[in-house]
């Protein structure tokens, strides 16, 4: 029996994966020095690992790109409106500050608003149960109008899966409430992937005018978590 035959496949793997203790590692190094066969087996094992890593370094990213184009198109109107609103806000803010004499000239409105911002909330609805939807809307209403609400508080509702019904004009029982909340600056986002899925099933999805789209609910959640928002699954 050759020396390297004493090394099992499991030991070889453990060696390649750094799972052995120093003593055991030294023993294998020593054996490999005197056994070209064992040395070759070790090299193969490492090579195999590197091949697997290489094969999954750049992987296809789903159908994100095509959906993003669609989302951008849908979002264009919203973006223009937001820019106009921001410009108006900046002008009004600047004029008010000048009139009151308390502002900080030169500070952009958006920056000032951000500095005041104390809380931001993302509510997530994935159920088509109207009670859940109602709960989400009530929670949003409490946040923007209830005790402790400030103008700086930001609230968004993101809907996916069954929750998409909340933002579909043909299925929502709450269009009036959504309109009211949107007037209070609550933003609504529908998951484009959920829309695509329904459209593939032949459903013509029409969203409420207050609804914006995001590639996926997850995109919105990740973005807001990164920005330190509170996340609440309803």
């Amino acid at each position: 029996m050759k020396k390297d035959d004493l090394i099992s496949e499991e030991q070889l793997n453990a060696f390649a994966d750094g799972e052995l203790d120093t003593e055991e590692e030294s023993r294998i190094f020593e054996l490999a020095e005197n056994s070209p066969e064992l040395d070759a087996r070790l090299c193969q094992q490492r090579k195999l690992k590197e091949m697997v890593q290489h094969a999954f370094r750049n992987i296809p990213q789903g159908n994100k790109r095509s959906l993003q184009r669609r989302s951008n198109k849908r979002r264009l109107g919203f973006t223009i409106a937001a820019m106009l609103l921001l410009a108006t806000g900046a002008t009004v803010g600047w004029l008010t500050a000048q009139t009151m004499g308390t502002g900080q000239p030169g500070m952009p409105f958006a920056v000032a608003a951000q500095q005041e911002q104390s809380e931001a909330w993302l509510l997530h609805v994935s159920s088509s149960d109207p009670e859940r939807m109602k709960l989400a809307l009530r929670r949003a209403d409490e946040l923007v109008n209830g005790p402790g609400a400030t103008e700086a508080r930001r609230v968004e509702i993101v809907a996916n899966e069954g929750g998409l019904d909340l933002l579909r004009s043909d299925t929502t029982p709450f269009s009036q409430e959504i309109r009211e909340l949107a007037r209070n600056d609550v933003l609504f986002f529908a998951c484009s992937r959920a829309i695509e899925r329904l459209e593939r099933e032949g459903v013509d999805v029409q969203l409420l005018p207050e609804a914006n789209t995001e590639y996926s609910a997850l995109d919105r959640v990740v973005l807001r978590l990164q920005q330190g928002w509170e996340y609440v699954k309803i």
Binding site: E9, E10, N13, A14, D17, E19, Q44, Q45, K47, L48, K49, M51, V52, Q53, H54, A55, F56, I59, P60, Q61, G62, N63, K64, H124, S126, N160, R193, S216, A217, L218, V221, V222, L225, Q226, G228, Y231, K233
Partner: protein, 184 residues
Amino acid sequence: MGILRGINQKRIFRNILSNSRDRLYRMAYAWTHDPALADDLVQQTYFKALRNQRQLREIEAADAWLFRILANCLADHHRTRRELLSGDEIICIENRTPEHETRDEQIVQRVRHAVRSLPLAQCQVITLVDLEGFAYAAVSQILDIPVGTVMSRLSRGRLALRERLLDLRTQEVAESSPVMRRVK
């Protein structure tokens, strides 16, 4: 003090979560080879993790915990679809022919194909160890199997990969020259 620690832990957890998306997606893709399904699994993993974050006792274990949720989401998916867990049953559909691929793409596709053709159980162990660098003990926790099983699956999976891949260069040379194939 406890509240502050709690807030800090929550912030750390959410940071980990936010930064794990690409890694979870890569793993989901390596297990399913389906970008849309991988996206769905990552989304489910995220929402489950957010919903159950209180179950995470130690923030240091967050990584393994997230991958465990991912593995459970995939198992649920297979259960729902009543699919066989064996990777051997998966039919590989290649849109591009090797002639249209660069040499690097050919290698990448061949390795992916080899990984794809492993039984899922072996594929999961190999990718968790090789792509994420998880220790065997962590893989054992993620997949809820004994460490010994991790080692034996890894061993069988790598043997199979070695058989399929390590004569790659010889295969490539052989494939680049015209050969006669017997047609049954």
